[in-house]
Symmetry: C2
Subunit: 345 residues, 2 copies
């Protein structure tokens, strides 16, 4: 396969131009790969993120192993927290834990709106190294978390079941909430801009927790902030993917917030999602990650189902509905990729 054709496939789809369906996987660099696990024996997750050469190496691991249409820089949506003044650590088996969650106006006033070019420069350096390592084979995607997902992490202090503290701040201290969201949004937008300057050819904004919200709460407390980040991201000139999970009831609002491509999870049929989103955006998705644990025959059938629902329409990017799980057999990615490559709508 010609390098330029592969490169163009993903970017063409982002712009809804005719192309064969591109395929990449959220969290395609990670624990399901043995080469990654070996590196993790020697380094923590944050060490890998903060060392540009290691981050580049990890980003390249799946590119070497699989016939993918895009690379995504190895990084973490929580990296902006520490320079904001909210240190955290990854507790074993529990995910991120924040020692002092934000709860009051004073907590929010203490946040430090920093310059990502300085404090997150290692991510941008990793992007520069990776663009060089990719030698134009496939485009590199830069990313960040969406303001809601980051703000709720900081308020809840980790993952959450009901988002009680975050919603309480919205409802009882809307000014404090908005100030928090504005501070976070400014940092995120600048971080995305710096990723494009460093060579990222597309961006993805992850609103992983947005499914906790009612449409009304999203519209009132979140949409204006996501829109601000997405507008600055699009102003860089590269295509922007806006992804969330649990969004089957709020898809139209995610589109209203912005993005050239809307990423949808596995909880809604792709054709139904696209019909509701309309013709003027692309759609990324939407295979359940757990299907990568299924027998090849069932996996193939479900990949075909997604492809048929997309119907070869320009603007479909094949992906999962969320990230690859550590238990995934790598061979399943080959099955998916082969099925996508063989598909004729």
């Amino acid at each position: 396969m010609a390098k330029t054709a592969t490169k163009h496939r993903f970017l063409r789809a982002c712009k809804r131009q005719k192309s064969n369906t591109p395929v990449w996987f959220m969290r395609q660099a990670g624990r399901y790969m043995e080469v990654y696990r070996k590196l993790r024996e020697k380094h923590t997750l944050l060490e890998l993120c903060r060392d540009p050469e290691l981050a580049c190496e990890v980003t390249m691991q799946p590119i070497r192993r699989f016939d993918l249409d895009a690379a995504i820089i190895f990084s973490d949506i929580l990296l902006p927290l520490e320079p904001l003044g909210v240190p955290f650590e990854f507790a074993k088996g529990e995910g991120p834990v924040i020692a002092r969650p934000l709860r009051t106006k004073e907590d929010v006033d203490r946040l430090r709106a920093f310059d990502p070019r300085e404090e997150l420069g290692y991510v941008h350096e990793a992007i520069r190294l990776t663009v060089r390592a990719l030698e134009g084979r496939v485009p590199l995607i830069g990313f960040c978390g969406a303001p809601f997902t980051l703000a709720s992490y900081m308020i809840e202090g980790g993952s959450s079941r009901n988002y009680l503290h975050a919603k309480r701040m919205m409802y009882h201290q809307p000014e404090t909430w908005n100030k928090l969201m504005e501070t976070v949004s400014g940092v995120l937008a600048a971080h995305l801009e710096a990723q494009v300057e460093a060579g990222a050819e597309a961006l993805q904004v992850f609103d992983s927790w947005v499914g906790a919200l009612s449409p009304e709460d999203y519209r009132e407390f979140v949409l204006p902030h996501s829109r601000a980040v997405l507008a600055r991201a699009r102003a860089t000139g590269v295509p922007v993917i806006h992804f969330g999970t649990g969004t089957a009831g709020t898809l139209e609002l995610l589109k209203e917030a912005g993005g050239d491509v809307i990423g949808v999870d596995w909880r809604i049929p792709l054709d139904e999602a696209w019909r509701r989103l309309g013709n003027d955006v692309g759609v990324q998705g939407n295979l359940d990650s757990v299907l990568l644990m299924a027998p090849a025959e069932l996996l193939r059938k479900r990949v075909l189902d997604v492809l048929q629902r997309a119907g070869g329409r320009p603007g479909h990017i094949f992906n999962l509905g969320h990230g690859i799980l550590p238990e995934t057999p790598p061979e399943s990615l080959d099955v998916v990729i082969e099925t996508v490559r063989a598909f004729k709508p």
Copy 2:
């Protein structure tokens, strides 16, 4: 307010007959009430469930305190597990924990299809006592978990993030999965029938975890079993509410599985949900439970929004999108109820 009018309001809405909008709350008996917390100092949750007089007392607590249109028997969806041969306990702050989760064909073969009239007779006795205590003030709702939610509890061994084990059984051992679902479904249907015999005037089936599934998985592995339970429930002659969370992408399939009324969570606008469901079912919902923690003014505004989206259409039952949280101030329920009562479409 005349007792018969109140009673009829909920049942009329279940049948999509003209009535003022009825209101009740999922988990309206529970830790947010001081009288309940006092009882819980002396008894475990399971003790309250298994003692018909205590279960009746707890069921009546919110009926005495609030102007509600329905009572729901105090019970737990997991009660069928122990007689099935799957003992569990409520670990502190962690929810139910099952010591030996089901994983293999042999595990499923060992399940014991029991007669709920014998082993869960205390629930039916509690219903008889409660019907007497209610003196016709409001109808009493009986309930059970849906087969998927119960089966996944038994397979995962507790609550789950990705439902990896449950989905693996579906994908790799479909016969074992179907046998498990059939066994559970038979028990659940008989349990619902016995609740109606004991005096329940409506039923609700809780598929609390169904939001983990893609539409395709729901259709292939779950729908036929839910349909079997719902069909037997409806054959009793009382109205049946089919509730799930995270169903914005699968609403039509939940309706296909059955139910006179479909319960929807807070993640989708009520009018959009009802438009998709069509005119031949009622809709129950759909205020975010966390809004009960909001200032009264915002709470009122959001209750009105739900009511206006329902537009006074026959068949709307006002409720939350999931259960009341323990942190809820009881006064918030008064605000909701007053707003519902005052509403003129």
